[in-house]
């Protein structure tokens, strides 16, 4: 159960004094605005909320939110967030970062966090470029795109984060676009409330290294989930996950499943372990001292 603030907070209460280093026009401004509003919408107690990131432009986000925040190392936002949540399940824990952080150097953690259904929310701000290092090809950069490290055009196929999340067993998958703050607020708030691993793929264009055309390209293709779409139907979610981004980029809640969360299962393990009354340090010490009991047949 999430800790709520005593009085109703507004988005301003979640804004830290630290000034963003992001470039003008960066999509991440739209994301951080959505984070403020989502936290305010749920009225979460900032002192019981923790936002963790790795390294990258978008990984600076925790510093701009007035909660407990951790700007850690490249790729490790998810396991650090997992350790925090497991250690103190009363906290609301978000992991945030970019496509390089989450789908290159930290891919394995995404895969397994989804599989183990750890109760955290992961927001990936996908700009399809390494912005902090000033314009290198990323795992979601479209094929043929010219970057500083794909000078003849990207020869690799981009990764599909939503399809991957579905394959890995994520129980909440949503997609938004940084320019659509209202949609982002709604989806981030729902993700936080979801018991289990929730993933928000947040397309957040980089005007500096991908140019205005990236923003326009996304804007032309985004659409809402179609009329009658049911996010609990696997085949419908699969159809969206497989859609060609050259045609459509569907925003909204794309998939939701119910499965016991990691925290619920860990609590069950503790129950099993202590079913016979638990243990003391003295019990454990005694278990190491050989005891052959009373003399019987051995006489």
């Amino acid at each position: 159960m999430a800790h709520q603030a005593v009085s109703q907070l507004t988005q301003k209460d979640y804004k830290a004094d630290l000034h963003p280093v992001w470039c003008p026009g960066c999509g991440d401004f739209g994301v951080v605005a959505a984070v403020y509003q989502a936290l305010a919408k749920l009225n979460l107690d900032p002192d019981h909320t923790m936002i963790v990131s790795g390294i990258g432009c978008s990984s600076r986000l925790p510093g701009y939110v007035n909660t407990y925040s951790f700007n850690a190392i490249h790729g490790r936002a998810i396991p650090i967030a997992t350790g925090i949540k497991v250690a103190n399940p009363a906290l609301t824990v978000l992991a945030v970062g970019g496509d390089g952080d989450g789908f290159a150097i930290g891919t394995q953690h995404f895969v397994h966090a989804a599989r183990r259904n750890v109760d955290i929310t992961y927001v990936c701000m996908d700009n399809s470029i390494y912005g902090l290092t000033k314009g290198h090809v990323s795992p979601t950069t479209p094929t043929d795109e010219v970057t500083k490290t794909s000078p003849y055009g990207n020869i690799e196929e981009p990764m599909n984060p939503v399809l991957m999340a579905l394959a890995c067993g994520a129980t909440f998958i949503a997609r938004s676009f940084s320019a659509e703050v209202k949609t982002s607020v709604e989806l981030i708030a729902q993700a936080i409330e979801h018991p289990g691993f929730s993933f928000v793929h947040l397309i957040s264009p980089c005007p500096v290294f991908r140019g205005r055309q990236q923003f326009d390209w996304v804007k032309e293709r985004v659409r809402r989930t179609p009329e009658g779409f049911d996010f609990t139907k696997r085949e419908q979610a699969r159809a969206i996950a497989f859609e060609d981004p050259h045609e459509h980029i569907t925003l909204g809640l794309l998939w939701k499943d119910e499965r016991p969360s990691l925290i619920a299962r860990q609590l069950a393990v503790r129950g099993k372990a202590t079913a016979k009354g638990g243990a003391t340090y003295e019990d454990l010490l005694t278990s190491f001292i050989p005891d052959f009991g009373a003399v019987g047949a051995a006489r």
């Binding site: 630290l18 002192d47 510093g63 350790g83 925090i84 860990q266 503790r270 010490l285 052959f292 009991g293």
Partner: protein, 594 residues
């Protein structure tokens, strides 16, 4: 003459019950109040291959696995052959082999001089006849050992009763008959010199180094462990996986070493004492995150159960070659504390020290254990739980946080005289802050200026300065303080070194031994004081390049550094007592007439 100290080796095929015979031997010895050490060794097969045990039992504390065997039991020569360098018979060793073995004499893997002395015993035949199954041949062997070495037959009988009790009285009776058959065989082969006199004493505990470290961590308050299976660490996580949930804690086995240390960092960030453990290859992967814990000033304990390197090396064998990685491995100037364990007993107490230091100084603590300690089982006095003192991190109080200026926020990295700043954990009102692997100011905000980086570098280093004095007990000394010759060693080398010093003393030669368990920050003053006036300082270690020697040369005063003599070699074989005596004997001075 009775030595009150004996060493037994047993080797055989998978299914011969070699390991359970060794375990029975040390368990019964411990129950009778003896000290002991059990070292197991296996062939390369995943399961079911040849195996050997080496058991030392003594009425005095066992320091090392010793040198030559007193008794050797080989169920066949082919399997013994693989362990011939680990189970070396001496001139007096009683050697038993199963009479079914048909190895031609020229192929028997023994020194020519000892081949004639081999005693052929019908282990398997007796097992079938008396014990009802060939499976009982290890029990016949235990009977032979009990008889040959004057160990109490009744103690083994009781242990057998306990071990097989569930299988019914018939099985118990058959195994006791097998035991007695072995005792009868040994009546003609009593070892004249080697036997122990069992006194009415306190029972010992029987525990492995890895279990002891896990237990010590739990008692120190560790409630979170994340690790990735790796030899020779895995027993630590297996034990904690079973026990932590009983104490409200959690063991996790995530996807890799990076996630393991990252999860531990997360847990400690949330205020729960956390441990991660690995061996060389995994520690290499963890180093980046270890630097994060140093930068973010987080309490964290990391255990490295060292094995032979580099790369995959020899996973099941010992080496002390991760020392410089441990001290310097992280990029940047990343202060941390490095401790070492020197025996099984240490694994418990050093684990407690590690958590206490981590908590008090808000620092990662790396503990270097190694395969030779982690995998061996000792019979030692039970740990004194009442003597354990647990230190917890000092959290900012509610009053302190109430005084925080909301416009500037909580100063997590406030400059203090000692360098340790008040900290908070999530959930503390008004205590939130930005923790970061980026260089930061007092609030945790990222900075890139030279002046702050200099100040923060000083702060992070300064805070660890009191550790050597506060943890002075981590430096061990032994032998004659007036000796001209000193030997300095660390980690698992301690056992053989201390036993060598005792052996030389018995021969009238004086040597001083200095064993630091705190390796960084190094207790320079204390060690220099101990080495003052020594003409030669022998550095004994199991590292091909002599990493400890290199380290000592860099930290000791030049005139002491100039007197360091390096004795180092690659690992796989543990350091032997005779080997160390060989280094020291020509150098050691006879005791003065006084």
């Amino acid at each position: 003459m009775s030595r009150n100290d004996l060493i037994v080796g047993i080797a055989g095929a998978g299914g011969d019950g070699v390991v359970s015979a060794g375990e029975l031997l040390i368990q019964v010895g411990a129950h009778e109040g003896l000290f002991g050490m059990l070292v197991k060794s296996f062939g390369p097969q995943i399961r079911g291959g040849e195996s050997s045990v080496r058991v030392r039992l003594s009425s005095k504390r066992v320091l090392s696995q010793g040198d030559d065997l007193d008794v050797l039991i080989a169920f066949n020569w082919a399997d013994y052959g693989r362990f011939r360098t680990e189970l070396v018979p001496g001139a007096e060793t009683l050697i038993f082999v199963d009479e079914m073995d048909q190895t031609p004499p020229e192929q028997i893997p023994l020194p020519e001089s000892r081949k004639a002395a081999v005693i052929r015993v019908p282990f398997e035949k007796l097992a079938v006849e008396k014990g009802g199954s060939a499976l009982a041949k290890n029990i016949v062997a235990v009977g032979v050992l009990a008889g040959a070495l004057n160990l109490p037959r009744d103690g083994f009988a009781r242990a057998i009763e306990k071990k097989f009790g569930r299988k019914g009285e018939q099985v118990v009776a058959a195994n006791i008959a097998a035991l007695d058959a072995g005792v009868a065989v040994a009546a003609e082969h009593h070892h004249a010199a080697a036997h122990v006199t069992v006194k009415e004493g306190e029972a010992r505990m029987v525990i492995s180094g890895n279990d002891a470290f896990a237990f010590g961590s739990l008692v120190a308050g560790c409630r979170f462990f994340a690790g990735y299976p790796i030899t020779p660490q895995s027993e630590v996580m297996e034990w904690l996986g079973k026990e932590l949930p009983k104490f409200g804690g959690t063991m996790m086995q995530p996807e890799d070493e990076l996630a393991s240390i990252s999860m531990a960092i997360g847990a400690t960030t949330a205020g729960v004492k956390a441990l991660t453990a690995s061996s060389g290859p995994g520690i290499s992967l963890k180093l980046e995150a270890l630097g994060l814990a140093s930068m973010a000033e987080l309490p964290l304990v990391v255990l490295n159960v060292q094995r032979v390197g580099p790369s995959t090396g020899i996973p099941t064998k010992t080496e002390q070659a991760d020392l410089l990685q441990g001290i310097y491995g992280t990029h940047g100037d990343a202060p941390k504390v490095v401790l070492s364990t020197t025996d099984v007993d240490d694994c418990f107490s050093v684990a407690v020290d590690a958590f206490n230091i981590a908590e008090e100084y808000q620092t990662p603590v790396l503990v270097l254990s190694d395969q030779a300690i982690g995998h061996r089982t000792d019979a030692i006095p039970p740990f004194d739980l009442a003597a354990v003192k647990v230190v917890n991190r000092r959290l900012a109080t509610e009053a302190e946080l109430a005084a925080v200026d909301p416009h500037h926020g909580f100063k997590r990295y406030a400059m203090t005289d000692g360098g340790v700043s008040p900290m908070t954990v999530p959930g503390q009102a008004r205590g939130n802050y930005l923790m970061s692997g980026l260089e930061h100011d007092e609030r945790g905000w990222p900075v890139s200026g030279a002046a702050v980086h200099q100040q923060m570098s000083e702060k992070r280093a300064r805070k660890l300065q009191p550790v050597p004095d506060q943890y002075a007990h981590l430096t061990l000394v032994a032998g004659d303080p007036k000796a001209d010759v000193a030997v300095v060693a660390w980690g698992a080398a301690k056992g053989a070194v201390l036993e060598a010093v005792e052996r030389l003393k018995a021969d009238g030669l004086r040597v001083r031994a200095v064993i630091p368990r705190l390796l960084s920050p190094f207790p320079v003053e204390r060690i220099e004081r101990e080495l003052e006036g020594k003409k030669a300082i022998h550095v004994v270690e199991v590292s091909f390049s002599g990493q400890f020697h290199t380290y000592l040369r860099s930290v000791l005063r030049p005139e002491l550094a100039a007197r360091l003599v390096r004795h180092s070699r690659a690992g796989a074989a543990p350091l032997g007592v005779g080997e160390v005596c060989g280094f020291l004997r020509p150098q050691a001075q006879p005791m003065a007439a006084d």
